[in-house]
Amino acid sequence: MERTPTGDRRRRRQVLGGIGAVGITALAGCLEGSGMPAGSTDEEVDDDDAADVNDGPPTVERSIPEAYSIDRLNEESMSGGPGPDGIPSIDDPRFTAADDPPANLDGGDPVFGVEFDGEAKAYPQYILVWHEIVNDVVGDESVAVTYCPLTGTAQGFYRGASEFGVSGRLINSNLVMFDRGTDSWWPQMLPVGISGPHEGAYLEEFQVIWTTWDRWRDQYPETTVLTEETGHARDYGSDPYGEYNPPSGYYDNERTLFPPLASDDRFPRKEVVIGARNADGAMAVPKDALRERTVIEGTVDGTPYATVYDEALDTGYVYRNPDDTSVEPDGDTFLVDGETHAPDALPLDREIGFDAMWFAWYGYYPSTEVHE
């Protein structure tokens, strides 16, 4: 099947009705958000302006901990069962308004929220568990929202004119993506090219927030939400691995499909940590501890960091705090040097952080500092 950068526009036919009552309905189109993505980091070296699909995604200069050589990562790559595109990405996503969400979306279900200059979109976990990647366009930016069920990681990447697909391979139980422009392969969590023309290069990330549908909708009433009109026949509403609402199955037990690259028993394997990494090193904050204490401070290679809790979205934000500025909780806000700030807008450098299962984070970043 030939794919285009903007996705092949697929129509779907739906025949609805009970026994003896049949109708044909063309499914509705999407409501696209607009706005420029914000909050990305690092210096872009491969701009996507006038980019060709064959260029692959834009890459950036980054310095983050590399515990394993590229050769080792390739050796650790294992088949998860499906081949390339056996788990099909969503290339023509359709959205609906917040007051008309998909019928299977419960208020307590996890969604992955993306907010770009006031425009908000939600990607339900129960849909992404079948696809793992959504190649979307937001405003002028082409982005990919990605999710790996086995490591519990939702991350966003700029994709330029290219698209990402699911390779079917896993490293450290984590999704390995490929870009259709250059066929370079990219482990999601790292996210460095491990083969192809972009070997050794890093993808440019943006913040994705793991929250619940109720919480996201309350904070962003104008949000749109991804629908089940994905162009693929899947049993949406059932999850092959377990459930998050409430947690059960794979998401709530100690089993992993593959042995982690490195192990540490400080926390249960599936304990959710908020992980961040940059030139200073890698750090992890257990989400339960953050919920309890609302501010957690620590250092990475001697540099102070502060992670603050956002109760409204049940998420955390990681800030580099080199001057060791005082950060104190003040209700739903935080006092920084006596000034009140929202948790996502402290006057410090915010790092991209994302939820991850402890075993996966430690497996990739065994040098990680733990702040709790």
Partner: protein, 201 residues
């Protein structure tokens, strides 16, 4: 083939026996019933195991067909699983209609059904005395091998087994191995049936 080995295996004779036993299975109502029940049961379990069949009373009856269904029939979702091109909701059950999975599952289910129907005949119409129900059990192992492979490594999560490179390599061979063993079992059991016996009505 070595003459002595060929003489021992009697390949032509074995094929003729198997064909005759198959015809006998199809002539008798009781053995057809056994084969049919096993086929339907195995196919149902197979489709449930690959995720194509589920109980979904919460979904209203309906039919959804993806775009360009014919072009997507042969898209693979795993080493031995294929893309669904339609969702059929009955109000009770949901079927992801994947012609590839249905054909593959139906083929394996047919082989299992034939095996067990022959095992049934071997008991009620044995060529020699002393045949037990062990031949039916013989067919169940390759049936399981052929069935579990379609779930891919995810089945390891259910079993609580961590995957290794060797185990994953084995997975890709389980389906052909299972089908091969089903044929071997079929030929073995066919030789235990008295095909000259009278057919039941």
């Amino acid at each position: 083939m070595d003459t002595r080995l060929a003489g021992k295996l009697r390949p032509r004779s074995r094929i003729a026996e198997t064909a005759a036993a198959t015809r006998l299975v199809l002539r008798r109502n009781d053995s057809v019933a056994v084969a049919g029940l096993v086929l339907v049961g195995y196919l149902t379990a197979f489709l449930w195991a690959v995720g194509d069949l589920s109980v979904r009373p919460d979904m209203p009856a309906g039919l959804l067909i993806v775009d360009d269904p014919l072009w997507r029939v042969f898209d693979r979702t795993g080493p031995a699983t294929f893309e669904a091109i339609a969702i059929v909701d009955t109000g009770v059950a949901r079927l992801l209609f994947s012609p590839g999975n249905l054909l593959l599952g139906g083929f394996v289910a047919g082989l299992v059904g034939l095996n067990l129907a022959m095992s049934y005949l071997a008991v009620v119409q044995p060529a020699a005395c002393g045949l037990g129900t062990g031949s039916g059990l013989l067919a169940s192992m390759p049936a399981l091998l052929a069935g579990t492979v379609c779930c891919g490594p995810v089945v390891l999560l259910v079993l609580g087994i961590q995957a290794s490179g060797l185990l994953l390599t084995m997975f890709t061979w389980l389906l052909p191995l299972g089908i091969g063993l089903l044929f071997v079992s079929l030929i073995y059991v066919a030789g235990k049936i008295d095909v000259s016996g009278s057919a039941h009505g």
